[in-house]
Symmetry: C2
């Protein structure tokens, strides 16, 4: 396991690098440098080279980085070569928005496989292409499919229960849209998508 000991600070930047490289590749660009990447991402060239050097040597002195190659390497490091299956918990407004209106998952290696809700009025109904399944079926579904990633889109008051059930069933990573911090065992990954948190990180700097 060559890569699992990289500091999270570094890991957290790799998807940003990958996204930038994909954008450049789409425009037909073939080569880039730590300087160019740094300029586009607002980071120092040194930091980008240092980050990449944790995982190997991907560049060529005097030339820079072959975009296609670095892209492939980052995908490999991030386990982003295949397609990850995910389940979505919560078929309310937020869940509906994620399923119906967010189109970016598929082309970047993620797929929603099933949607769950605990509301009897919703179970059995359709959410886009999905039939909404009973939340009670989550454990057996996760065990059967081996799915490791879940998206939580339930109200804050329910999020913690849902998370515990998911983890109990074998889920290892949670993308949490509920506006609450989840307490989970250290080996479980959680990331947060509450836009208000991000807005407040900016209003601090805005004056009143």
């Amino acid at each position: 396991m060559d890569t699992k000991d990289a500091p999270y600070t570094i890991v957290s930047r790799l998807p940003i690098y990958l996204r930038a490289l994909t954008f450049m590749a789409q425009k037909g660009q073939e080569i880039t440098s730590s300087q160019e990447l740094g300029r586009k991402l607002g980071l120092s060239p040194a930091q980008i080279r240092k980050d990449l050097s944790h995982f190997g040597e991907f560049g060529k002195q005097g030339t820079g980085y072959e975009i296609e190659h670095l892209q492939q390497q980052l995908k490999r490091i991030l386990n982003a070569t295949g397609k990850w299956q995910m389940i979505l918990i919560g078929a309310g407004d937020l869940g509906r928005a994620i399923v119906l209106h967010y189109g970016g998952f598929e082309e970047r290696g993620f797929n929603i496989a099933a949607v769950f809700d605990r509301d009897p009025h919703k179970i059995g109904q359709k959410l886009g292409q999905f039939e909404i399944l009973d939340s009670q079926l989550i454990p057996q579904y996760v065990r059967k499919t081996g799915i490791k990633i879940a998206i939580i889109a339930v109200p804050a008051s329910e999020a913690h229960n849902v998370a515990e059930n998911l983890i109990e069933a074998g889920v290892k990573a949670i993308l949490n849209y509920a506006p609450i911090t989840l307490s989970v065992p250290p080996e479980i990954q959680v990331q947060y998508m509450d836009p208000v948190i991000y807005l407040q990180r900016m209003t601090y700097y805005l004056g009143t």
Copy 2:
């Protein structure tokens, strides 16, 4: 300007503290401690005390923090006492999802004031309660209203142009849902909401 020099690392945690305090307050709890907060948020008590000490003394030895009071103080520090007006650029699927299906802005101090798109087929149509306005009107709208916050929900290819127009018009903070890093002057705040970035930060740890 007593607070504007706090390190971003600290500032970035304040909204998390505020969210946790609000949750506790809703449950009727009146007092908390750095220990309890730390446990709930996965942070060390020392860090929480250190963070808060950058802005003042909000606790009482032997007792802890009065939740209502600390909440008020954090709101003041974060400029989260009033209601911020925002504009949304992009009335596609993503913009629609944000306006119609995300309900959490209002009660937490943010409000969408207007929606813009550049597509002639969309301009003049309704998005929920909003009439979609022509993107060309953004500059005059921003100047007239003094709005400082914009949400970008256009395709990646358009995001940079949109951002430049917004900044030119006087916008100071951007919540960017487009999957691309924006290059902006250092005094402009940007935060990113691309879920795939967050998913890839987790898949690194999941093995293949």
